[in-house]
């Protein structure tokens, strides 16, 4: 590789690469503000406010350049003790939850991850069962594991845990059963109405 000499003209600033067609199409329809789009590890991630979720999801499914016909998966992430934007270790992010939809277009072979951020005391999002029937069980699982509710879901009940189960197991403040629990200051709000396991082990011998 040759180094530019002292008299060489400064390199032209490179033109930014053209946005991904999916990004361009979404920007064109919804503008810059309604949808934040970033690329993580080469995968597209779009973030949308819950008030526009149904509108965006319908567009994603029906637009001829997008055609996301396959809702692969629904889940959530609890950012109680981790902030992807940085910050001191053990400190969480607000809002606490992200509901994550993995979309795929069988017709056009592209993927998109759609996220909706939710506050803990208002963890409610419109159900997408009317758009993709496969959302039914995925949303039930997310409700069961994280306590996020889906408005308009036909049968929002627990699916993997028993109906009378207490708490939502994949929340970060839900203690892991049969393990010693460290009550440190970095893990806030551990006092759920659960019977901690170390007590149970004592009773059961």
């Amino acid at each position: 590789m040759t180094q530019p000499g002292p008299g060489a003209p400064p390199a032209e600033p490179e033109a930014p690469p053209p946005p991904h067609p999916i990004v361009a199409r979404l920007r064109e329809r919804f503008g810059e503000e309604a949808i934040e789009i970033e690329e993580i590890n080469g995968q597209l991630v779009a973030r949308v406010g819950r008030e526009r979720l149904i509108e965006v999801a319908t567009f994603l499914r029906d637009d001829s350049a997008l055609r996301f016909d396959h809702l692969a998966d629904v889940t959530a992430v609890d950012y109680l003790i981790y902030n992807p934007a940085g910050g001191p270790p053990g400190e969480g992010r607000l809002p606490r939850f992200d509901v994550v939809y993995h979309l795929y277009s069988i017709a056009l072979n592209h993927r998109l991850r759609l996220k909706v951020a939710l506050d803990e005391d208002d963890a409610n999002v419109p159900s997408l069962t009317g758009i993709w029937p496969s959302a039914n069980w995925g949303e039930r699982e997310t409700y069961d594991m994280y306590g996020v509710t889906f408005a308009g879901h036909p049968n929002l009940t627990r699916i993997l845990t028993p109906d009378d189960w207490q708490g939502h197991p994949l929340r970060k403040d839900y203690p892991l059963i049969e393990e010693e629990i460290e009550f440190t200051e970095t893990l806030p709000r551990l006092n759920l109405p659960l019977r901690p396991v170390h007590e149970r082990s004592k009773v059961d011998g």
Binding site: I40, N41, G42, Q43, V45, D69, H70, L71, A72, D73, T75, V77, D78, Y82, P84, V100, H102, Y104, I106, N109, R111, R113, W132, P133, S134, N136, W137, G138, E141, M145, R158, I159, L160, T161, P162, D163, P169, L170, Y174, L176, I177, E179
Partner: protein
């Protein structure tokens, strides 16, 4: 009252309009594990079918978050216990994506061979049990006879017949054994006539056709909307195979066809899987021919364990070994979703990493979970006896459904 039946396995109820609410399962041989179906019946006809799952839920995703990545590999086996190597592969690919690395060429080709052997293994269990459900006992015996050969290979590689944990982030757990190629050659030699034999018993068998053709139909649009994947989707004529559309581990280098059905019924799902087995053999043949030598795992001791020889000679290697064993390797912060084509369909891991040795979140896109969800749609209007054929044709593994 109807809720009581739904809540209590083993109960039945005759409703006022003469319809019967019946619990099928969770202990029922035809439900392939512990699946319970709450059926509303009009005579022998299914009016509605509501699956109740969660009987083998083990909170595996919670456990992932509390163990190191290295320990998590062993749990991936235990979800879908009929295709552990596909699960290993999906997990390894997802972690590798977060690291931004690729496994060495030898590992890549070995992964393809092993993934296809796993597909054969899984399809044999499916075929055996599906045929057993419909009364063909001999097929079951034949399938399990051939399956032993596959399990022997897995045992040869990993020391385990079922819970292999053989494919690890960065490559493989250990190099392929010396007689691996020889054993796989034997599979390639023995299997084609055996698959013919199964087909002789079933494909044109009038009883088999009566019990499967036109049963549990689902059209392509519905199949996509309900999130079906794998052979269950392709039987409806939808051409989508992750190996073709988003190739991983070098699948783009091999020639193979994606078998498609037309009617989306139990028979087409059967035909799709039978033809898929032959395609798997084709892929294994090509991969075995190009299996290169060289490393079986990346030479980065921040990710993979150092070899035994290095441990004996290098202090640094010993320290790396100790660090990985106690703390695990640190995966760069970020997130990724990587799907693979498991025998049941699109099987993917979604991992969020906070940069520590344990995943902050690890979620599984389980193909059986979504395939099974569609059963309430497909079961309407079937006879109870045909429902048994339908369950088998979706090939659900309850360990995968409940996790």
């Amino acid at each position: 009252m109807a809720d009581t039946v739904a809540a209590r396995p083993g109960t039945t109820l005759v409703e006022e309009d003469g319809k019967l609410l019946l619990n099928m399962g969770p202990q029922h041989p035809a439900t392939h594990g512990v699946l319970r179906l709450v059926l509303e019946l009009d005579g022998e006809i299914v009016v509605s079918c509501r699956p109740v799952i969660g009987y083998v839920h083990t909170g595996i995703e919670k456990t992932y978050e509390n163990k190191t990545y290295h320990q998590d590999v062993t749990m991936t086996d235990r979800m879908d216990y009929l295709c552990p190597l596909s699960n290993n592969l999906a997990f390894a690919l997802c972690v590798e994506k977060l690291f931004g690395i690729e496994a060495p060429p030898r590992a890549q080709v070995a992964r393809v061979i092993l993934a296809e052997l796993t597909r054969l293994n899984s399809h044999l269990v499916w075929l055996g049990t599906q045929a057993l459900d419909l009364g063909a006992i001999s097929v079951f015996l034949y399938c399990f006879r051939e399956r032993e050969m596959l399990l022997d290979i897995f045992e040869l590689c990993s020391g385990q017949r079922m819970m292999t944990s053989y494919i690890r982030p960065g490559g493989l757990y250990y190099d392929l054994p010396d007689d691996f190629a020889e054993k796989v050659e034997e599979i390639l030699r023995v299997f084609p006539p055996r698959i013919d034999e199964y087909e002789d018993l079933l494909t044109n068998n009038e009883l088999w056709r009566d019990r499967t053709i036109g049963i549990g139909k689902i059209g392509p649009a519905d199949a996509i909307a309900w999130g079906l994947s794998g052979p269950s989707l392709r039987a409806s004529g939808v051409n989508w195979d992750v190996r073709k559309s988003e190739p991983y581990s070098g699948y783009e280098k091999y020639e193979f066809d994606v078998p498609l059905g037309t009617n989306g019924d139990v028979y087409d799902r059967y035909m799709c899987r039978m033809r898929e087995m032959r395609q798997s053999l084709r892929i294994i043949r090509q991969a075995l021919d190009v299996l290169p030598g060289g490393d079986f795992v990346v030479h980065d001791h921040k990710i993979a364990f150092p070899s035994r020889t290095e441990l004996a000679t290098s202090m640094e290697a010993l320290i790396h070994h100790f660090k990985i064993a106690t703390e695990g390797y640190r995966v760069p912060a970020g997130e990724a979703f990587v799907p693979v084509e498991s025998p049941r369909g699109e099987m993917g891991f979604y991992i969020v990493s906070d940069g520590s040795g344990k995943p902050y979140k690890a979620h599984v896109r389980a193909p059986s979970f979504y395939n099974l969800a569609a059963i309430s749609k497909m079961a309407e209007g079937l006879y109870v006896a045909d429902l048994v054929a339908l369950i088998g044709s979706l090939d659900p593994v309850l360990g995968d459904v409940d996790r």
